[in-house]
């Protein structure tokens, strides 16, 4: 859909500026040709240094970057720690070099890369930010108790209460309290990192599949460890399914367990990455056409998508939290179809009102 929009927009713009590109392509081949795909992938990917801007052209200009520590472990040579500026522009240091942001040894031996990359640095930064913000909020509660919140505490209180009342209580039920720390952490972690990713120079942390994978695996583990016997009963002896069909239904249910967190992982990754790609594509259009006349239109579109991403940032955090709560809720629920095969008991009759 978004790609289609970009394609349509390209098509429409070509008609208006058809006389321009002929000159600019000849010009562009003289210099280094601008490759939007490369630029965008570089922007959304991880990196060993934190690059902010380049003044002048790519080869001779000044790069405004923050070098980050490279931590490499090789079974033969052991640990080596040095600054990523040693590897800048394809330099070789200590037998190591970067190939497309991938740390490799010159002699081709195995390298375990534990570097503080841009994403790791951003993760630490956001963890520090979350700690600072939420210890301030917690201090507010320690000081004022149930009194009126003040300052930063009054901004976060409605959000915390919303997660508790609308997400946790409704999806998990009476046992919601145990899961509140995880739900709140996940919500604020994703939200803060989505917003930090939208800032100029920010890292695309929640658009990194390893990060979303970790969050999804945590959700899976919490779901599995808090599951009760009804949950497993539902999977290995689905009520209302004939015994002969169980060999087919059990694999289907087992796939269902894995697919739920998998879809969480892909949704967050795809939404955030797509948002970044669309904004960068709009900005790239200026350089593709090599004309400043398209700038007002592309910037307006880019700004619009950027505003939309502000909404997507909180929406994706909310959806991740809500679905996590629903999966946990499904695992801890005292099931109503206890009365199908297990003969009712513990209040199943009163619960069966629908």
């Amino acid at each position: 859909m978004k790609r289609l929009l970009v394609a349509i927009f390209c098509f429409l713009s070509v008609a208006a500026y058809a006389n321009e590109p002929a000159a600019t392509t000849a010009e562009a081949t003289d210099k280094e040709a601008f490759s939007p795909g490369e630029m965008i992938l570089h922007h959304i990917g991880d990196s060993h240094e934190w690059h902010f801007a380049t003044i002048g052209d790519e080869a001779h200009g000044t790069h405004l970057t923050i070098p980050l520590p490279v931590i490499a472990y090789r079974p033969a040579q052991g640990l080596s720690v040095f600054s990523s500026s040693q590897l800048a522009e394809g330099k070789v240091y200590d037998g190591l070099k970067l190939e497309h942001e991938h740390l490799v040894a010159e002699d081709g031996s195995k390298v375990y890369d534990f570097s503080i990359t841009k994403n790791v640095a951003s993760l630490m930064l956001s963890a520090a930010l979350l700690l600072v913000v939420f210890t301030a909020v917690a201090r507010g509660y320690a000081k004022r108790g149930t009194g009126a919140p003040k300052g930063i505490q009054s901004f976060f209180e409605p959000i915390i209460v919303f997660i508790r009342d609308e997400v946790a209580k409704k999806s998990i039920g009476p046992k919601y309290e145990r899961y509140m720390p995880y739900l709140l952490t996940v919500f604020f972690f994703i939200w803060f990192n989505n917003l930090m990713g939208l800032m100029p120079g920010g890292a695309n942390l929640t658009g990194n599949i390893a990060v979303t994978l970790t969050l999804a695996v945590l959700t899976l583990l919490i779901t599995l460890f808090s599951s009760n016997k009804n949950y497993w009963h539902h999977i290995f002896a689905t009520p209302g399914v004939p015994k002969a069909l169980l060999p087919i239904m059990i694999p289907v249910e087992l796939i269902g367990i894995v697919v739920k967190p998998f879809s969480l992982m892909v949704r967050l990754f795809a939404n955030i990455t797509a948002g970044h790609i669309v904004i960068l594509s709009f900005i790239s259009l200026i350089f593709i056409f090599g004309s400043v006349t398209v700038a007002p239109v592309t910037l307006a579109f880019g700004l619009f998508i950027n505003m939309l991403e502000l909404l997507v940032a909180i929406l994706q955090a909310y959806i991740f939290t809500l679905l996590t709560a629903m999966y946990i809720g499904g695992a801890v629920e005292e099931h109503h179809d206890a009365d199908y095969q297990m003969g009712g008991g513990d209040g199943a009759d009163t619960a069966h009102t629908h």
């Binding site: 609308e166 997400v167 209580k169 409704k170 999806s171 039920g173 009476p174 239904m249 694999p251 289907v252 796939i255 269902g256 894995v258 697919v259 739920k260 998998f262 879809s263 892909v266 949704r267 959806i319 809500l322 679905l323 629903m326 629920e333 005292e334 109503h336 209040g347 009163t350 619960a351 009102t353 629908h354």
Partner: protein, 73 residues
């Protein structure tokens, strides 16, 4: 719904979330099954029956899971 939940109304937000999740869930189910089919074909040289069978199984599984998801409660 659990017994001690005070309001008998169905949760407002969760339907939205449930349907939001459905699309990606179907995609993931069918995708995972297809991948497994391709892998089995390569491993055991069953071409193309592993892929065909498991893709169809994936479609079935996705449908079943979605129907169960939305008809529950």
């Amino acid at each position: 719904m659990a017994v001690s939940t005070p309001d008998p109304q169905p949760p407002r937000g969760s339907n939205f979330a449930r349907f939001m999740g459905v699309g990606f869930q179907m995609l993931a189910t069918i995708g995972a099954c297809t991948w497994l089919g391709l892998w089995l074909d390569k491993r055991f040289g069953l071409e193309p029956w592993g892929t065909v069978g498991l893709t169809l199984f994936g479609v079935f599984a996705a449908m079943y899971l979605v129907i169960r998801e939305v008809s529950e409660k």
